[in-house]
């Protein structure tokens, strides 16, 4: 029988893949390289230098925004992980229950819903409740958005694990909550961790929802960067962006290594 070479890469395949990846990475690479540019002109190469990173240390507004963003991201990602994991457990283990369709609808819609809608809607709620806008309103808004991403990542994982393990634990006398903590939770731990990281980076990244729900004194990093970018390119922006990219890359590599070392075969689809 003639074997069709399924795993053979044609020249066309290889070109497509290489071009696609180059397209994804080239702009980021340019940004990173130019953040080390000594020249004040963003477009002229003046040799390697760390001066823009040093300059960041004097930029109090930028540092405060970064600190605000990190706090919002940490608190909202943690809350979102708890809520999202609970939601995923409910959707994959609870069978049918009243209002299930509405529940899953509310859970999946924010994944694609344009952020201007979510942001405006949440702002109107906060105004109606007369909540002082600032750290907590942004955190609540980000929790709402990111818990949906956590739920999807964890639910995908819950669908992939062998349920007979949970059932065996309960046959052996575990209470459901105990079986969940002793058996299910360790099995879904990589997905829960990935969910937390996704929530953290999404919160760190969000401009639109934060702009709507924030108040005076609670400027997040993307809001700060956005207002600077609108005024024109500054080399310091390249530096802060490079730092953010580095932070995220290190976290992703660490997470994937941790999963590998844990020796678990992770069938979880890519977080999306």
């Amino acid at each position: 029988m003639r074997r069709v070479s399924l795993n053979r890469l044609s020249a066309f395949n290889l070109t497509a893949l290489a071009a696609g990846l180059a397209f994804l990475y080239l702009p980021i690479a340019v940004l990173v390289i130019y953040s080390f540019n000594a020249s004040k002109l963003v477009t002229v190469w003046g040799g390697w230098s760390l001066r823009w990173y040093a300059g960041l240390l004097d930029d109090r507004a930028m540092l405060e925004a970064a600190w605000m963003s990190l706090r919002v991201a940490f608190v909202s990602a943690t809350a979102a992980t708890v809520l999202g994991t609970l939601a995923a457990v409910a959707l994959s283990r609870a069978g049918r229950f009243a209002g299930r369709t509405l529940f899953s609808g509310m859970l999946y819609a924010p994944l694609v819903l344009p952020e201007v809608i979510t942001g405006l809607a949440l702002l109107l709620l906060f105004v109606a409740l007369d909540a002082g806008r600032g750290f907590w309103t942004v955190t609540l808004a980000h929790t709402t958005l990111t818990m949906c991403f956590v739920a999807v990542v964890v639910q995908a994982r819950l669908g992939g694990i062998d349920r007979s393990l949970e059932e065996a634990a309960m046959d052996l006398g575990c209470a459901p909550a105990r079986a969940f903590i002793a058996v299910t939770l360790p099995l879904i731990a990589p997905a829960v961790a990935a969910g937390w990281m996704l929530a953290f980076t999404l919160s760190l990244d969000d401009l639109v929802i934060a702009s709507f729900t924030t108040g005076p004194g609670a400027t997040t990093l993307p809001i700060r960067i956005y207002s600077e970018v609108r005024l024109g390119i500054r080399p310091e922006i390249n530096a802060i962006c490079t730092l953010m990219i580095a932070l995220v890359s290190v976290a992703i590599v660490a997470a994937s290594l941790a999963t590998k070392w844990a020796g678990r075969r992770d069938d979880t689809p890519a977080p999306l």
């Binding site: 893949l17 477009t43 999202g84 609870a94 344009p114 969940f180 639109v208 709507f212 993307p222 953010m244």
Partner: protein, 304 residues
């Protein structure tokens, strides 16, 4: 075999907290958007009327309902600016989705042809940019596209052009930015659909005399349809309401809906019109959103 689903009851309890959260912070706000879209603009802080006070009891609620007005929607219809914004959003989203499919499909297809050892690595390489900030990725393009930026520099170095071209504030720049930002959203579902494909089907097609191209057309493409649908919706819906990319990369003469919502809200401080725009955007998207929701639910519950 029907196994006892002993987890069922405690798992239902797990739904309570996230359910309540979403009802309070996701569903309720939409009622506020709808109400606001029917309110009058007023010079006040916050800038709208009437104030709707639930604590004032039912009579006040009914009175407030009487004050609702369709003026904002009448304004949206009468002013062609808003109509054009809607049309432009849909056009941009459709063109972007088509471009994304054209570019994403060959990449995803090539990924499935990699050996088992390389596939996870390629997958990771596609996912990593998705994790890096959206804003940063759009900003990276400003570096490249500005008048004395790298693109013009490269083109002049190779004598393709003599004088630098204006790339920023054009639709070309905006499409570049959109394709760049959303490419992982297109590649991942396509890859997921094609990766599951049974290789023997293509062998069978080849055994039956199909050329490679024909086998692709008759077998691979139809089987990757769920991925195409997922990728298209995952890109189309958010692009319709996109704000950051057109704001930073496209010209300011023609706006998309997301930009008009932003402009009405932050610049004109007209919350009612901004809400009316948001309602229009939501109505435009309700069809695709329901399709997406159904698809997502099916995909995630298949394993459960």
């Amino acid at each position: 075999m029907s196994r006892p689903r002993i987890f069922t009851r405690p798992a239902r309890l797990a739904a309570i907290l996230p359910y309540a959260w979403l009802l309070a912070l996701f569903l309720t706000p939409f009622l506020f958007i709808i109400r606001m879209s029917l309110s009058m603009t007023a010079v006040a802080q916050p800038p709208y009327a009437p104030v709707f006070d639930i604590t004032a009891g039912w009579s006040a609620v009914i009175e407030a309902l009487g004050q609702l007005s369709g003026d904002n929607f009448a304004l949206l219809i009468s002013d062609s600016l808003y109509l054009f914004a809607g049309l432009r959003s849909l056009t941009v989203a459709a063109v972007s989705t088509a471009l994304l499919l054209l570019i994403g499909y060959p990449v995803a297809y090539a990924m499935t042809r990699l050996s088992r050892r390389w596939q996870p690595i390629a997958l990771m390489l596609v996912v990593v940019p998705f994790w890096t900030s959206f804003l940063i990725r759009v900003y990276a393009w400003i570096n490249i596209l500005q008048k004395d930026g790298l693109l013009n520099g490269a083109l002049r170095a190779f004598h393709v052009i003599e004088t630098p071209l204006a790339w920023l504030a054009t639709d070309t720049a905006m499409y570049l930015g959109i394709v760049y930002s959303y490419l992982p959203f297109m590649i991942l579902p396509l890859y997921a659909a094609m990766e599951k494909m049974d290789a023997s089907l293509i062998e069978a097609a080849a055994d039956l005399g199909c050329s490679r191209l024909k086998a692709f057309w008759l077998v691979t493409l139809p089987l990757s349809r769920p991925g195409i649908g997922a990728g298209a919706l995952l890109c189309f819906i958010p692009v319709v309401g996109e704000f950051v990319i057109p704001d930073l990369l496209a010209g300011s003469d023609r706006l998309m809906i997301g930009q008009t919502v932003w402009l009405e809200f932050f610049t004109n401080r007209d919350w009612s019109v901004a809400s009316a725009m948001a309602v229009v955007l939501l109505v435009l998207l309700i069809g695709p959103l329901l399709m997406y929701e159904k698809m997502q639910r099916r995909a995630l519950e298949r394993g459960a």
